[in-house]
């Protein structure tokens, strides 16, 4: 969903750039609470994985493909603030190194693919975990559902930006219908990749999944003992 140069006019591109700068600024402050000596390397690896997965276009309909956006995945693995930064780094390097996504459209692309996917995807993921039983299967199911919705949400955000600052005179209703339709299909691919990846990490190292933290609390007694002793409980 990388917007090239020329789709969106200059004023709206600048406005989207301001939104992106503000969003990334908030994410930089929030990420401090999510990142430490162990999760910082994991966040770098997650960004690299999102880049790799974005290269894998899968067919969704005749003559149309889609690829992972990765905002929901990154947010569940390393936290929402850090997730925004992961996707933003990917988008920045894609634009600078690989001529993918226009330089003047970087603000639009960060807004739709980093901010909207994480806010919608991670927000929905949290809501679902609140009502689902606290199990690994719930985390996987919530990952799937959140990722499905995050992609059409990004398509809606693009359409809204296009409605305000689009350079070509086309029917917004038609654009909205077509964008949402195809991105619901792409969302299913996004959801499969997200759920498989989250489930794989949960299977080997559940303690590394930010979104599963509530499930992985050590038993009460040991935590209390460890706190009283002023040390960390040993991981099993």
């Amino acid at each position: 969903m990388h917007v090239p140069d020329g789709f969106i006019d200059a004023p709206v591109s600048i406005a989207a750039g301001a939104v992106a700068v503000a969003g990334v600024g908030i994410a930089l402050r929030g990420a401090r609470r999510e990142l430490d000596d162990r999760t910082a390397p994991l966040a770098g690896l997650t960004a690299a994985f999102v880049f790799a997965a974005q290269m894998l276009n899968f067919p969704v309909a005749s003559g149309t493909s889609g690829h992972l956006l990765g905002g929901t995945l990154a947010a569940i693995l390393v936290g929402p603030y850090t997730g925004i930064l992961c996707v933003s780094v990917v988008l920045l390097l894609q634009a600078l190194l690989f001529a993918d996504g226009g330089l003047t459209a970087l603000g639009v692309n960060i807004t739709t693919m980093a901010l909207v996917t994480v806010v919608v995807g991670y927000g929905l993921f949290r809501l679902l975990l609140r009502v689902l039983p606290r199990t690994k299967a719930s985390v996987s199911a919530a990952s799937f559902a959140a990722a499905v919705v995050s992609v059409p949400a990004a398509a809606v955000a693009f359409t809204a930006i296009y409605a305000v600052g689009g350079t070509a005179d086309v029917s917004i209703a038609k654009v909205a219908t077509a964008m949402i339709g195809v991105h619901v299909l792409i969302g299913i691919g996004e959801a499969l990749i997200t759920a498989v990846t989250v489930s794989s990490v949960l299977a080997v190292r559940p303690d590394l999944v930010h979104g599963a933290r509530g499930l992985m609390k050590p038993p009460e007694l040991r935590t209390a003992a460890a706190r009283n002793a002023g040390t960390e409980p040993t991981r099993v």
Binding site: D5, G6, F49, H67, G83, V89, F98, R126, G166
Partner: protein, 120 residues
């Protein structure tokens, strides 16, 4: 699985996806490109200002073999993202050891991303 082994495995998966599997990815236009072409959004599309850069459009200039060219650009991209992202995250991180069991920290990190950052 040790953390080190997990990290190495995760990185290897990314390198294989970008370096090898990407060759088999669909070459069809993506959702936005397709809609843009069908509905006329792309009427005023401009060429990317860096399209002739060394890795423009996920290839390496000068390498004719598309499998090698695309795969190499993928490996370079994974390395570049890891480097830039890793440096950023390492710089932003909270200093000190990992704190899984700190209840206060859990509560804070579970706040929704749409909420404004806490002052201070």
């Amino acid at each position: 699985m040790t953390t080190k082994r997990f990290f190495i495995g995760f990185l290897l998966v990314s390198f294989v996806l970008a370096g090898v599997v990407s060759h088999y990815a669909s070459g069809d236009p993506d959702g936005l490109e397709k809609v843009a072409a069908d509905k006329g959004i792309s009427a005023k599309e401009k060429d990317h200002s860096l399209k002739d850069s060394p890795f423009g459009d996920y290839g390496v200039k000068g390498i004719e073999n598309t499998r090698l060219s695309g795969g190499l650009s993928g490996v370079i991209g994974v390395g570049a993202v890891l480097l830039v992202g890793g440096a950023l995250f390492w710089g932003v991180r909270r200093r000190g050891p990992h704190r899984d069991a700190a209840g206060e920290q859990d509560e804070r990190t579970e706040r929704a991303p749409s909420e404004p950052a806490r002052k201070g």
